[in-house]
Symmetry: C2
Subunit: 174 residues, 2 copies
């Protein structure tokens, strides 16, 4: 829809331009360049300075993950960078583990490290999730009280004419 308006589609992945990526993940080229600039995203691999950046869908996924974490955890890009360092470390681990020529001790160490990273992220996520769920409970509670009051009022003063059906859909619906 934008890289090459119509025409010969190269079906093999790996040739998305920055504008396409931006639209795919719902952001702007500037933001993507900025993330690269501050080291949140790796510089497009070995790109002759001045040429266009090219991305594969792997990188698109990565960017999606980055923005998701940023939004959900509400952390600064700097903090996010350390969190992603963790992800990268895990990626490195996976890469190393695929090779057979590393001894068990090393493998254990790598796994141990990965576990540490995961646990730190989990702690962060769990804390926020917990707080949010508490907030949700409080709101639900309040909601119930309001509903009850409405029913009471309807029963007392009502009976004159039928109350219009409550306009409620399950919250969370479409």
């Amino acid at each position: 829809m934008s890289s090459r308006t119509p025409g010969t589609e190269q079906p093999h992945a790996g040739s998305l331009r920055i504008g396409d990526v931006a639209r795919l993940v719902g952001t702007t080229p500037r933001t993507i360049r900025y993330y690269e600039e501050i080291g949140l995203l790796p510089e497009a691999p070995a790109r002759p300075s001045g040429r266009h950046r090219l991305y594969s869908d792997t990188e698109v996924e990565r960017l999606r993950e980055v923005m998701r974490l940023k939004d959900l955890l509400g952390v600064s890009l700097e903090e996010l960078k350390t969190l992603l360092a963790a992800e990268d470390a895990r990626a490195a681990v996976r890469a190393q583990l695929r090779r057979e020529d590393v001894d068990s001790d090393r493998r254990q160490a790598l796994l141990q490290e990965a576990l540490g990273h995961i646990d730190r992220q989990l702690a962060l996520v769990r804390r926020r999730a917990g707080e949010l769920s508490r907030l949700e409970d409080e709101l639900s509670e309040t909601r119930k009280r309001v509903r009850r009051k409405m029913r009471e009022l309807d029963a007392h003063a009502g009976a004159t004419f039928a109350a219009p059906a409550p306009i409620l859909q399950r919250p969370g619906g479409p």
Copy 2:
């Protein structure tokens, strides 16, 4: 500890100074003034311009709630303002409902409005909570895989000497 260093304690609430409030909720006076400036907090009621602001613990609670929402929902102060307008509406409803001289129709309308506000907040909270919990699940899943891999590795190459006990505490613990 700071308003009046030691001395005669006026045990009745309602005379906290801005610095005290700031410390109580973990922020700075500047932030409180700023929130007032942009209309997030009501101007301290009928304060002769130039005099010190005085707060009651009710207002402290309110501020706590504000900061909690800001943090948990990750919204701008402007968005937060509309959300709080909702809270204020509910407060108004409560106030009105305590008076007996409002007719049932009005009461129903107020309650209906309040319900709308609550539902909007609930939707927001539920969405975020859901996303966060999905993230949590994914992380837990990954964690399990890593643990499994570690055990496998330990079983295969291990048996040479006892592996040191894993340093794991329940995530979320102290």
